[in-house]
């Protein structure tokens, strides 16, 4: 029979003041299997720990129970002590007789009785504990970053600069994300391209970064430290190494389609470069716009390409990569235009969204930095900006605040005034949210220095009349109706998860929140981790955020990833689920409930991926056959604990 030692701590008077520790030790010495039982004033002190060590050796104890304070305080202490005496750490259990007993009771007899039950319960548990070693997992010391916006770029660079290989996957032909479309950035009004392009170049030049553009994640399998990614690399039909950016091909390309980089404000050819500073710096053939390759319908671009960079035979490729950690920075999109019909979006050409306006403001934009109306290329003199277009509208649109719109609308109004000095900017707003370093001052500057007119209220109607856009609204502060004959309306459209985020989340097996953003593991304490161990979140994919926040989170995610990659092996608590295959019928109910996807069915039986299992035990309570249980907290252990807790 296993030999158990019990050590009852006085904790000075903290325990001994309410629990008769001598009596407890004596009673426990009578418990079946207990061959040693003693009390001491401070078990956690060196002499206290030595008592335990000596007893383990002298009495040949198989396991020990320390009746003391909460396990959150000294479980590690005592487990280490037991280890040093040659016991497995799981052969040591803590009976919490301080926080859960002596500190909350006054009646000594009853507290003592309860302390004895709590300790017996720990004895029954420890006697049935398996000796387990932490599960050790080798780590593939490379990372995958999904998304080549500012967040993905930052994470990739942080990782690469620390010395780890990174695969950066971007589905569009160039990295840069939405940030590269911006004109200037609040609150400092730096030129967005000026601060981003050096980073993009660094990415392209970095020996630790393998950049894969026009690529998408097809499948992710494996687990922390050992993910396998299948990446679909779509053909661009242009050999980037050969392309000299001579631009001859676009001159002959007969097809013109809307240019997504300028959000449709301009056009581009079927063969094109997304924008001049694109990384990788190469042209791409948009196959959906091209008249066709099978058979080659046109082929003019290839004809004129002197270096012979155009290769119509390019095929999609599946590239498999093994990585130890994954950072998801899949970014955001603007709220669908069709959804904003009430503001005349899509109906009136001079009703723009925020990003379109950014392009108009951009020095490299369709108007070369001049603010002109798309409809007639005239300078707008009255511009109405509408905040919360789609945000904070639980009935019709998105319930959440998109967070950046207050600031960028202020910036838009300000920049508009910088371009059109005699123009008037109106901003309809619900509240101004300008929390952030220098943000409030920035908004004040817009009002005070640039005379932007803030109107608190909602717009009720927008319609076109005599070449003007009539904006009806209410100024709730002044309490009067407002009617503006605007030349242009700019909507601060809501941010939403980028298209395909849901599909991506499914492939990664990470959860989405109710708005479709990726869910962090804990809203306060684990904001950059996903619920899946080894997968981290960065940027607006997790929630609307501005550039500094996205960058901060990206660096945070990189640091978290580095915490994994910096180790040769990972260690995981071994108190995980265990399956009795004789009992398992493969119904899959446990698979349904596992929050970590650690269970799967194979040949009609469930299998545990011990690396993913966190040991919560929900599977064991769900299984009708007790075919799955958590090591060291098995139904047998609990049933014995119940028995002694009730005095049996």
């Amino acid at each position: 029979m296993k030999r158990t030692g019990v050590f009852v701590c006085h904790c000075g008077i903290n325990i001994a003041g309410t629990v008769d520790v001598k009596k407890a030790a004596k009673e426990l010495s009578k418990h079946k299997g207990v061959v040693h039982s003693e009390d001491y004033v401070y078990m956690c002190s060196d002499p206290g720990q030595n008592l335990i060590l000596d007893a383990i050796k002298e009495k040949k104890l198989d396991n020990v129970v320390i009746a003391c304070c909460s396990p959150t305080l000294h479980e590690t202490t005592f487990r280490n002590a037991s280890k040093s005496a040659g016991l497995n750490e799981f052969q040591c259990e803590i009976a919490n007789i301080r926080e859960q007993c002596s500190w909350v009771h006054k009646d000594m007899d009853k507290a003592t009785e309860k302390a004895i039950k709590i300790t017996k319960s720990a004895v029954e548990k420890v006697r049935r504990n398996e000796s387990l070693e932490p599960i050790s997992i080798p780590v593939t010391r490379r990372a995958l970053v999904i998304g080549g916006g500012i967040a993905g770029i930052q994470s990739a660079l942080d990782l690469a600069n620390t010395g780890y290989e990174v695969i950066l996957v971007e589905r569009s032909p160039s990295i840069g994300g939405h940030m590269i479309q911006l004109s200037e950035t609040f609150p400092t009004l730096d030129c967005s391209q000026c601060i981003l392009t050096p980073k993009m170049v660094e990415v392209s030049k970095h020996s630790n970064i393998k950049l894969m553009t026009s690529s998408e994640i097809q499948e992710i399998s494996g687990y922390v430290g050992n993910f396998k990614a299948k990446i679909l690399k779509k053909p661009t039909y242009v050999d980037a190494d050969k392309c000299t950016l001579c631009d001859e091909c676009t001159k002959v390309c007969p097809v013109v389609v809307s240019n997504e980089f300028d959000l449709g404000l301009t056009g581009r050819r079927a063969i094109y470069i997304p924008f001049p500073q694109a990384i990788p710096a190469t042209y791409t053939l948009d196959i959906s716009a091209c008249p066709g390759l099978l058979p080659i319908a046109c082929g003019k671009c290839a004809d004129v390409c002197e270096p012979g960079a155009i290769d119509f035979d390019m095929k999609p490729e599946i590239i498999e990569e093994e990585v130890g950690a994954i950072i998801v920075a899949s970014g955001f999109d603007l709220y669908e235009k069709e959804m904003m019909g009430e503001y005349g979006y899509g109906k009136y050409p001079d009703v723009l969204d925020g990003l379109q306006f950014e392009r108009l403001l951009s020095a490299s934009g369709p108007t070369m930095g001049k603010v002109l109306r798309p409809s007639d290329h005239k300078e707008p003199k009255e511009v109405v900006f509408i905040q919360c277009a789609g945000s904070r509208d639980p009935e019709l649109h998105c319930p959440y605040c998109s967070k950046i719109c207050c600031m960028y609308t202020a910036k838009h109004a300000m920049l508009y005034k910088h371009h059109v000095h005699d123009g008037q900017a109106y901003i309809f707003y619900i509240d101004i949210r300008s929390g952030g370093k220098g943000y409030e001052e920035f908004v004040q500057r817009a009002v005070e220095e640039d005379g932007v007119l803030y109107l608190r209220g909602k717009v009720s109607k927008i319609f076109e009349e005599k070449g003007k856009i009539k904006v009806w609204g209410v100024d709730t502060l002044a309490g009067k109706d407002i009617e503006i004959d605007a030349d242009m309306v700019v909507l601060a459209t809501a941010m939403r998860p980028s298209e395909g985020a849901e599909e991506l989340a499914k492939k990664l097996k990470i959860a989405l929140d109710k708005d479709g953003f990726l869910s962090e593991a804990h809203p306060k304490l684990r904001p950059v981790e996903s619920v899946t161990s080894g997968m981290f979140l960065a940027g607006a994919a997790q929630a609307p955020k501005d550039i500094p926040e996205a960058v901060a989170q990206a660096s945070g995610a990189a640091a978290k990833a580095i915490a994994i990659l910096s180790q040769e092996r990972l260690f995981h608590a071994p108190t995980v689920a265990k399956v009795n295959v004789n009992l398992c019928t493969g119904c899959g109910m446990c698979v349904d409930v596992c929050p970590y996807d650690s269970l799967s069915l194979k040949d009609g039986k469930v299998e545990v991926n011990e690396v993913l299992c966190e040991g919560c035990g929900t599977c064991s309570a769900t299984c009708l056959r007790a075919a799955i249980q958590i090591r060291n907290l098995t139904p047998l252990q609990v049933s014995e604990m119940i028995k002694v807790s009730l005095g049996g």
Binding site: R128, N582, L583, T585, G588, D592, T622
Partner: protein, 343 residues
């Protein structure tokens, strides 16, 4: 109305063409009015098949045996087994599919619709006949049953002698089938949980007295469990009988088997057994009523299972046995699940 000849013809065809390896159906027995399960292999034996209001058994239970038999065979016949199912039975099949216990390909479903009627309650019939013995009982086109006794034919309104569960039926025709015999007559029970009403209106102490009296009768013959298609576990957690011991089961594993309920048929142990069974059938029981029918001591087991069926519906809007792809009751949740009972 299901034409028995059609059923025989279909069965004959399936056997003759070798589509199925055998067919589980009903045939006349020798022990009384109720039929016995028929396992028909030869096409000519389809003549034995019957279909009438006495066909109460849920034959999907025998798919559990079939699965075990097949697993033990070296070179199993991979053809499906044909099984005759009523609406309720088909829902059991759906749960078995949902729990991946059987593959859809392993079963060929001959669905029979109960249409306006259902199957009979032998006890109700006995009361109605007041001592006369029924020899034969048939469906009619209207919803009456024709009962043959030693005194000749009488027509009895089906409502009078239908099993309680048929009066509360949710699927009077099969929800899943390969061949359907009879019409898909939509019929909605006005009181799907009618049998609970009387009981639920009792006081707490009355309820306790009732259940104690009932469960104290239990002799743990386990007929309720044995007849239940959902009780397909190799080993029941609720009692100590070990079925699932193999050569690789270690001494520790055997020694550590927990006795949640002792073998003694005393109040505490009988309650553990029946409570565990009830809770394990929550969201799985399709109310075929077999447990109650086979209980030699007439313990009203349906009342237990029906209660949890009702709670599943009312608390979680969960209905059993219509969708093989829905997650199980206890392996799913909704954010808005009630929690008014939680402090």
């Amino acid at each position: 109305m299901v034409n028995l000849e059609d059923l025989k013809n279909e069965a004959h065809k399936l056997l003759k063409e070798g589509t199925v390896k055998y067919i589980i159906g009903y045939e006349r027995g020798t022990n009384g009015l109720l039929p016995i399960p028929a396992f028909i292999k030869n096409p000519e034996d389809v003549e034995r098949l019957i279909w009438d209001p006495t066909c109460v058994f849920n034959l999907t239970r025998f798919l559990v045996d079939e699965k075990r038999r097949k697993a033990s065979e070296k070179e199993p016949d991979e053809r499906p087994v044909g099984v005759i199912v009523k609406g309720c039975d088909s829902r059991a099949l759906v749960v078995l599919l949902q729990e991946k216990f059987i593959n859809r390909d392993d079963v060929y479903i001959l669905g029979v619709s109960c249409e306006e009627a259902g199957v009979l309650d032998e006890k109700k019939l006995a009361k109605t006949l007041k001592g006369k013995k029924a020899k034969n009982i048939e469906f009619t086109k209207n919803d009456n049953f024709v009962v043959m006794t030693e005194d000749g034919k009488t027509e009895i309104s089906a409502k009078e002698i239908l099993a309680e569960r048929c009066l509360e039926c949710k699927a009077n025709f099969p929800v899943i089938y390969d061949i359907l015999l009879g019409e898909k007559v939509k019929r909605k029970s006005d009181k799907p949980f009618g049998s609970l009403e009387k009981f639920e209106s009792l006081s707490k102490e009355e309820r306790w007295t009732f259940w104690k009296e009932q469960l104290d009768k239990c002799i743990r013959c386990y007929a309720c469990r044995s007849v239940c298609p959902m009780c397909y576990c190799d080993e029941c957690v609720a009692d100590t009988i070990n079925f699932a011991v193999t050569a690789d089961t270690t001494a520790e594993e055997k020694a550590q088997k927990i006795k949640w309920a002792e073998k003694s048929p005393v109040t505490s142990e009988n309650f553990v057994y029946h409570l565990v069974r009830a809770i394990h059938l929550a969201g799985r029981c399709i109310d075929c009523g077999e447990c109650e029918r086979v209980c030699p001591l007439d313990i009203p087991l349906r009342l237990l299972n029906k209660k949890l069926e009702k709670e599943a519906k009312e608390l979680f809007d969960y209905e059993v046995g219509f969708d093989p792809d829905q997650p199980s009751l206890v392996s799913s949740f909704k954010d808005e699940d009630p929690e008014d009972f939680i402090r």
